[in-house]
Symmetry: C2
Subunit: 297 residues, 2 copies
Amino acid sequence: MNLNNELTRLKDLVEKELDKTLPKVEGKQKNVIEAMRYSAFAGGKRLRPILVLKSCELVGGNIKDAMPFALALEMIHTYSLIHDDLPSMDDDDYRRGKPTNHKVYGESIAILAGDGLLNCAYETMINHITENIEDSKEYIKAFTVIAKASGVYGMIGGQVVDIMSESDSFDEKTLDFIHNHKTSALIEASIIAGGLIGGANKEELKRLKEYGKAIGLSFQIRDDILDIIGNKEKLGKDIGSDQSNQKATFVSLYGLEESERKTEKLCKKAINSLDIFNGDNKLFFKDLAEYLVLRDY
Amino acid sequence: MNLNNELTRLKDLVEKELDKTLPKVEGKQKNVIEAMRYSAFAGGKRLRPILVLKSCELVGGNIKDAMPFALALEMIHTYSLIHDDLPSMDDDDYRRGKPTNHKVYGESIAILAGDGLLNCAYETMINHITENIEDSKEYIKAFTVIAKASGVYGMIGGQVVDIMSESDSFDEKTLDFIHNHKTSALIEASIIAGGLIGGANKEELKRLKEYGKAIGLSFQIRDDILDIIGNKEKLGKDIGSDQSNQKATFVSLYGLEESERKTEKLCKKAINSLDIFNGDNKLFFKDLAEYLVLRDY
């Protein structure tokens, strides 16, 4: 299995299903739907939904069963980006090389588009639970994991502390909190949700969690590194914004070299946690961990 | 049964349970939790949760079973108020006699507090489903009704059109759309959700829906009327704001007299839909319909 081919295949599949699942641009409220779709289709690696699908497959499940949860995670991720980019938050004009949602649709529609995507994520999951009502226990568990990771004890909590840390002084503990909550929580939840839907046993779930924690953190540190050494065109956004926003990042606390060492260490940890698995899908997760450490966008 | 006593009893009960269910003000993310609680406990009639509880009881259910859904609806209602009040939306400084969320906590925390409440609503419902996993079908149906009423085909859709109608010219159809979506959708969903949880049959659900539609609309028209003739102190907010925002309202389209006639007609319609029910709870819903037409806050 070639990693890039598989990532492209799954990205296309996710985007096709996302297009089918999001509301159609019609009706009197079509502005907000257009805004939701604008950000949902503004590019992106589709990492979270791909993790849901592949971890479901890794433990022997069928990716079709996991698709609604994959889409929900992408909707939640997209809503969080729209709200993070708002003038009162990070005040970003570009995201993935395109003007941010509020730059195109205005602030009020951008806020509502985010709200709409978050709500749509939960609608998508509950609809799938309803369609599989007789056999819904694992779906309900996956739903719970995703909901918790998205809330104030997960992503939202991380974003709050991230915002506040811009003006306050910050320490290692605060940085850990931000990383674990703002980015890792949702990445970890993606892998756990896929595992639950695929029927993972206790040991498999434990390993998936370890893997998720490790790549979630390495993903965030790589983001911090790219904000310093990245290429603006490839990233599709300005670099150096963490510095100018006086943001707490791994790089600002430990320096570039130590940050790169840390991602390599996390990569090894992630790969070690895979040793109970087998086959092509294990290879996919190994290659993915390595790719995330070296990615340039 | 005295309506006011019963409303007060249920309001107190809802607030007690809301306090137990919302996250505690602790941890690094405590700012956002404090902001969520500020708006959740800034007063209000608790109409939506009370409707959930009473419609559950009306069809023979136990209000304990409906409580998490009642709380979820209040959280969704509260989040929508926080986001509606933002500077880029209605730009309101006061709500229920207190400074609005963003006036106290700033815009970024207010946006995240709204996000947090919406997410917490879904967490609260899925937790109850998990705790009753063997008997969760009606809960899942109630969840679905609430999720749909909250999204772009419900409340969010209404808010978008409401915002856009401020600057555009508006007609009867647009006004109907705003009323049916922005306010009625959630009120109707409250009554249906309670009915589903209480075990309502098809005919009972049909009647509950009729009742919800009628009082949802009369509630909104009364709001529009109070924006003209209301008392600022009693309302806890400025009056005349619809006019100064050039908002589409029933009163601006049909005038005060016709609006009052309309609420009386809707009240009768609501009461008529109750004729298959019996007992004290039927009386509660009759008295409530009459109260909503005459309320002064």
